[in-house]
């Protein structure tokens, strides 16, 4: 069997698994966020928080909950790292420097998991398992909560109420993320991922001498790293490390975990707005882009353009033998089209066009299928822009799901899509204009520029993957990427929740013959086009300087 055929078969198996999970998981999540009942353990948690889960919140209150919880997360994680030297279970690692601790704290709270540290060299058990992995759960649950609040904005009328943030947060963790993670972690251990609390220990070698490993709760962190589209590896090599991703089965399973919630949320959406077909239209848009990117990535990586790859006879640099090119290409696209950023191959050593696809995938706003929750709300914002454009073409007031898209709504949507490009291009421009940041580049020329563009694209879009040649542990990058992650996560949430509040207050408008049928393939086509055009117009000049220049030269 040729590697290309094997790659295609792996893709088909993945699609089949996702299709099987789509309905049950999507329906289940809709039930979770619509139910009036509280589990006993949830009641204990609410008591601990001191919050009444039955109070309905308007959008400012919901947003305050999101921000307060996230601020507490940043503060806690920052202190945990700063105090690492005096905490037990730290494996002898010292306190993290202030700028790096700030960067890492914002990174994990913002669901980004950009890492400017070497996991196995910097973080002990307490910070990894009690700090970083916890944010992997809760930042994902925050993302889903905000998406659900937006969906309620469409589903509800003549009220400003969007649900209760604490209830949505706790349910996401207790009823969705924890159960899947427990099962997933055991599956990963069965494949060979490690799960222990042994410290740094020496292991004998074949030729004599010793290797030094650190143990850790790797499988339990690995599973939520993928499931919550977080991406922060326990080890520096992330999911390329054999202890995180031991064999081809764990590889496909991890890709499945990355994609399963973001795709299934479209079903949850359809269910909650009372039209499954509307969910299918969003799903079709996501799936079209995702498949298109995988096809292109497989083509360029198997075709291996690039002088060094021609010399080697294949683009295997930075890739593991057990995954091969197919398994690496699927992972690479899935991680950058969601907000995951975990890697099983190193994107900096992709072909020029391959690296460009990784960049472009993030620049689409990570909506195909996107992060847990953030993918859905990002895509719904794009849908609003698309109906607005369609409305302009025919001269009708645009509407979506029975809600009018007026000046107020379109302003929020426009602000949303402006945030990340402003951060990415602003900070990249500043880094190139200043003299010292450029010293961090490993490669020179077009690829060096791509390293910096990639870093801010990844940060502001909350992805977290890297063209890891860039030495990002400098005060400049720790601080600016930290800010990009923070603003790139929470400013859009402000606009999403404001939009949700505004939608929920409206009264529904009845469907007429002139209503744009947003559940039809025509709309899916329009939406794909809108996404491509907006992203293209925003980023083309920057892409031309980096990956396109590199790809065209070879």
């Amino acid at each position: 069997m040729s590697p290309v055929l094997a790659g295609v078969l792996q893709l088909l198996a993945l699609i089949a698994a996702l299709a099987l999970a789509y309905r049950p998981l999507g329906d289940y999540m809709a039930k979770v966020y619509s139910s009036d009942k509280h589990l006993r353990v949830e009641k204990w948690i609410y008591k601990g928080i001191g919050a009444n889960p039955n109070t309905e919140m308007r959008w400012p209150a919901y947003l305050r909950g999101v921000l307060a919880f996230s601020a507490a997360g940043v503060l806690f994680l920052y202190l945990l790292q700063r105090l690492q030297g005096s905490l037990p279970g730290s494996l002898g690692f010292k306190a993290i420097d202030p700028d790096q601790a700030f960067n890492t704290a914002t990174s994990f709270v913002a669901n980004t998991n950009w890492q400017s540290y070497y996991g196995e060299q910097a973080m002990g058990h307490v910070v990894q398992t009690g700090g970083l992995a916890v944010q992997n759960f809760v930042s994902a649950a925050v993302g889903i909560a905000v998406a659900v609040a937006l969906v309620r904005g469409f589903a509800r009328s003549r009220t400003g109420e969007l649900g209760n943030f604490w209830a949505d947060l706790v349910r996401g963790v207790v009823r969705i993320l924890i159960p899947i993670s427990v099962i997933g972690a055991i599956v990963l251990v069965a494949c060979g991922a490690i799960q222990n609390f042994s410290g740094i220990h020496e292991v004998g070698q074949f030729m004599g001498g010793e290797q030094q490993w650190n143990g850790g709760a790797v499988a339990s962190q690995e599973v939520i790293k993928e499931l919550g589209t977080n991406g922060g590896g326990y080890f520096n090599a992330n999911s390329a490390h054999p202890f995180e991703n031991p064999n081809p089965i764990s590889n496909l399973f991890e890709i499945f975990l990355i994609l399963v919630i973001p795709f299934a949320l479209t079903r949850t959406f359809g269910k909650m707005v009372g039209s499954i077909k509307q969910g299918y239209a969003i799903l079709a848009t996501m799936a079209t882009i995702w498949l298109g990117f995988i096809a292109l990535m497989m083509w360029t990586e198997f075709h291996h353009g690039g002088p060094a790859f021609d010399l080697a006879g294949g683009a295997m640099e930075g890739k593991e033998t057990r995954f091969g090119i197919g398994g690496s290409a699927i992972f690479s696209v899935s991680t950058t089209l969601t907000s995951t950023g975990a890697v099983n191959s190193f994107h900096s050593s992709n072909t020029g066009f391959g690296g460009g696809l990784d960049l472009l995938g993030m620049q689409l706003g990570e909506i195909a299928p996107g992060g847990t929750g953030s993918g859905l709300y990002g895509m719904l914002i794009m849908a609003i822009i698309a109906v607005f454009i369609a409305g302009l073409m025919v001269g009708r007031t645009p509407e979506y799901l029975g809600k009018k898209i007026g000046t107020r709504e379109i302003k929020f949507a426009a602000c949303y899509i402006l945030v990340t490009p402003a951060l990415v291009l602003g900070f990249t421009g500043a880094s190139m204009a200043l003299s010292t940041p450029k010293d961090s580049m490993l490669n020179s020329g077009a690829h060096g520029f791509s390293e910096i563009l990639y870093a801010f694209t990844s940060g502001a879009n909350n992805n977290g993957s890297a063209f890891a040649g860039l030495s990002a542990d400098t005060q400049w990058f720790n601080t600016t990427i930290g800010l990009a992650m923070l603003l790139g996560r929470f400013l859009p949430m402000v606009f999403v929740l404001a939009l949700a509040g505004s939608l929920a207050e409206q009264k529904p408008i009845p469907k007429t013959a002139g209503t744009l049928r947003t559940e039809k393939p025509l709309f899916t086509g329009l939406l794909v086009g809108t996404i491509m055009i907006i992203t293209g117009l925003t980023y083309f000049p920057a892409l031309a300087l980096g990956p396109l220049a590199e790809g065209l030269a070879s």
Partner: protein, 239 residues
């Protein structure tokens, strides 16, 4: 004003309490429960899939190792011990600033681009034959070494026969596998150095080749550590 400060403090307090409660669940109970189950059901795997030979641990099935000669005086990197099957290059393993290199394994890739170490030829970028740094230079050096090391009196390695993974570094730098093609390429040399028949060694490689899982997942591969252990036993039987 006082009121809003008080509200903010109350809200932050609620956020902090929520975080602490969820930390107990996600950061204490969950990992401990998973560790308990993992240790009970998959003890060896949960602890790193250690491989034993003659009662002694010789490494992990999952983590690659080097098979080198002892470091000679004045050498920075040791020469490979050609008696044993050789792994992929691992140029990406980071220099460890806290410990000495390789003492605590720091996984990592080279992150070098396909166009590093190139020059212009017309309007195309090509590998610069004189480049000493960059991916082109690394691949060229690895390729030359593979040809030199593996060519024996009656077996000449051609550049076109070398698989890509044999001359490139992996993502983790700890890749435990090589492709069956690269193992086959090493058979003649290994046989000669150990005084074995090439057929015997070839059979050894075939026995240690893992196909794709279920016929389509991943790529065919050979675990270098397991292969070398088997080789050691074969040599011992002969001797």
């Amino acid at each position: 004003m006082n009121n809003s400060v008080g509200n903010t403090a109350r809200l932050l307090g609620a956020g902090l309490r929520a975080l602490l409660v969820l930390t107990v669940i996600c950061g204490v109970i969950y990992p401990l429960a998973v560790t308990g189950v993992a240790q009970a059901l998959f003890n060896n795997k949960a602890n790193g899939s250690e491989v034993k030979d003659g009662g002694k641990v010789v490494g992990s099935e999952l983590i690659g190792q080097r098979y080198d000669l002892p470091l000679k005086k004045g050498q920075e990197t040791p020469d490979p011990d050609l008696k044993w099957f050789q792994p992929r290059p691992s140029n990406g393993l980071a220099v460890n600033s806290e410990n000495t290199r390789y003492k605590l394994i720091i996984s990592g890739a080279t992150n070098l681009a396909g166009d590093s170490g190139t020059m212009k030829k017309g309007d195309k970028e090509v590998c610069d034959p004189k480049a000493e740094e960059g991916l082109c230079a690394q691949v060229r050096a690895a390729r030359d070494a593979v040809i030199k090391d593996n060519s024996t009196a009656d077996f000449k390695v051609r550049a076109a026969d070398i698989p890509a993974e044999a001359v490139t570094s992996s993502g983790s730098g700890l890749d435990p596998h090589i492709s069956p093609d690269y193992a086959d390429l090493q058979v003649h040399r290994v046989a000669e150095k150990n005084g074995l028949d090439a057929e015997q060694v070839e059979k050894l490689v075939d026995d240690h080749t893992d196909g794709r899982v279920l016929g389509f997942m991943g790529e065919p591969r050979v675990n270098v550590l397991k292969l070398n252990i088997a080789l050691k036993h074969l040599v011992a039987e002969k001797g």
